[in-house]
Symmetry: C2
Subunit: 343 residues, 2 copies
Amino acid sequence: MQKEVSPIKRKRPPTLVHVARLAGVGIGTASRVLNGDGYVSEKTTARVQAVIDDLKYRPNEVARSLKVRRSRAIGLVVPSLEDPFTATCVQAAQSVIRANGALSVLTFSEGKNEMEIQEIDYLVRRQVDGILMIPRGTQYKQLMPALNQQIPFVAFDQPVPGGKVDSILVKNKAGAMEAVTHLLKHGHKHIIATNVDSPYTIVQRAAGYEEVMKNAGLTPVVAISQPSQQAVLEHLELWMKRKHPPTAIFSMNGLTSIYLLRALAQLKIKVPEQMAIVGFDDLPFADLLANPLTVVRQPAAQLGARAAELLFERIATDTGYTSKRVTLDVEFVIRNSCGCKET
Amino acid sequence: MQKEVSPIKRKRPPTLVHVARLAGVGIGTASRVLNGDGYVSEKTTARVQAVIDDLKYRPNEVARSLKVRRSRAIGLVVPSLEDPFTATCVQAAQSVIRANGALSVLTFSEGKNEMEIQEIDYLVRRQVDGILMIPRGTQYKQLMPALNQQIPFVAFDQPVPGGKVDSILVKNKAGAMEAVTHLLKHGHKHIIATNVDSPYTIVQRAAGYEEVMKNAGLTPVVAISQPSQQAVLEHLELWMKRKHPPTAIFSMNGLTSIYLLRALAQLKIKVPEQMAIVGFDDLPFADLLANPLTVVRQPAAQLGARAAELLFERIATDTGYTSKRVTLDVEFVIRNSCGCKET
DNA sequence: CTGAAAGCGCTAACAA
DNA sequence: TTGTTAGCGCTTTCAG
């Protein structure tokens, strides 16, 4: 008899063997009624089922996973839940994961490259059936070794550069162009684009901004600050001291918009009279802000859901790695920080 | 030889057996170097390690879990990530879970009782080592059968009524009392308390409200609306038509505050001049709102972290079920929706 | 120090 | 239809 070593003294839960014995059938038969497949006579089924109910038997999914070499678990790695945008994506992804009978294993990368690979590695050891991730710097060459067991993978929000990886993205550049064009219509000449960080999506948005500015014969200015309230404030003060201070700002993500709005309030710069703002990424209660923000809204829920769906498709067909790219439309939501009257 | 049945055609990743064979050692020895325990000579260790690196071998955690009967996974069930409060709790809990070398399995109950039990049942089958949950109606009698394998369990934000369950809570009643007392100081006589839902926490807050009102010789009015913008608006319209319309509202949770602020804006009721507001639960950008909200702030991150810590403590000591209750302090944050000048 | 062997709980042949 | 058997990949005695 095996001696109990762990500090866990609880008695062991019933197994299929117990069920089979009590029902007076073979373990194979018990398994069959459990899974509802194979041929089992009605009476046997009933008898086994009775024992299962009686014992409150719960099949051990870990054992099942080991045997069938599929865990029915999906790994989900995102930078953090701080950004409501991410929370929405995760929630939507989890719904489709759960609907597929799988469970989602949630992990955070803090947007750090090392953590991204480390977490993937961890998930691979846990034998997840697939991984969904918002990458923030992971390159194809780093991803592949981590995925050496050839686990289906889908990136969303940002792609993994350098190789064949499926990704679900939004129209970053087009959205940015629409935003900046709108500002142009309001007659602004000195528009700067800013952000607190500069991953892929921001680069795309900045490109859209630059293109529109150049086409209009204006000089684009992209300013990236440190991600802190203080840094954004200082940055803003500097800009205002210039010969031609900006009259409009294109804020390239949600968090940046927040910092900016605070900084503007501190410097008592009126929005939109003294400074027009258009942001990329909507905020939860943007309509209730002192300056209702005009934004390019990303379809966050759709993004997460589509990513999960694509992953399951890959798992089902086992198509190996492809580089399918789905690009979702964004929506321009006019409130009044851009100078438009509120509707 | 086993025929491959699943649609998965990928070749199987290396196992410990492969490692052992290639290193010319026994499988037990390979396992020992893998886990760094037991006595293994330096040279053997080196040899095995070399093969591991070479093969890019990744230990199969599922097999390990089955063998040692511990999964190093913690189940996390929350209503949804919609509320930023929950997102913060989850994020904090995940951090301590990950720091303990475990992974977190995230699941949503949508606040529905059936789903809560169903998800727990599911997690139990997956052999999680413990469960962390924000219960929304689950009773002790329902929880226990679901947990029949005696898995450590900690509730947070809300307790599980009717039995011995550890829980981490916040001072709902005291916080509410502070909020209402503050409103009283501003001279209000007609203060109503409202919410869009009425689970445990709200009942506690309402109790605090009622106590303060009664002590002040005033009549408490608790109004619960349907959880929709429209319903809240209609409710508000009705109140305003009364003989003595409220001059102040105690909004008992974050989402309700949002709905209320919108309704107030639509009816063009000025905050705080015509209507003072104090909310329970802070909002992410409450300071940037048109009416910076005075709130009772809950220590969301601490709540999630403490819950996870308590769970690991229970797992380590396997103390069985107790009914430890930790009650965290809340913080009263004065902005200006209550009538105070902004600082 | 190291190898062999016995399972963890379950599924999927394969016989009966 | 049903019972038996052989593992899934790993840890942990138990001998050597």
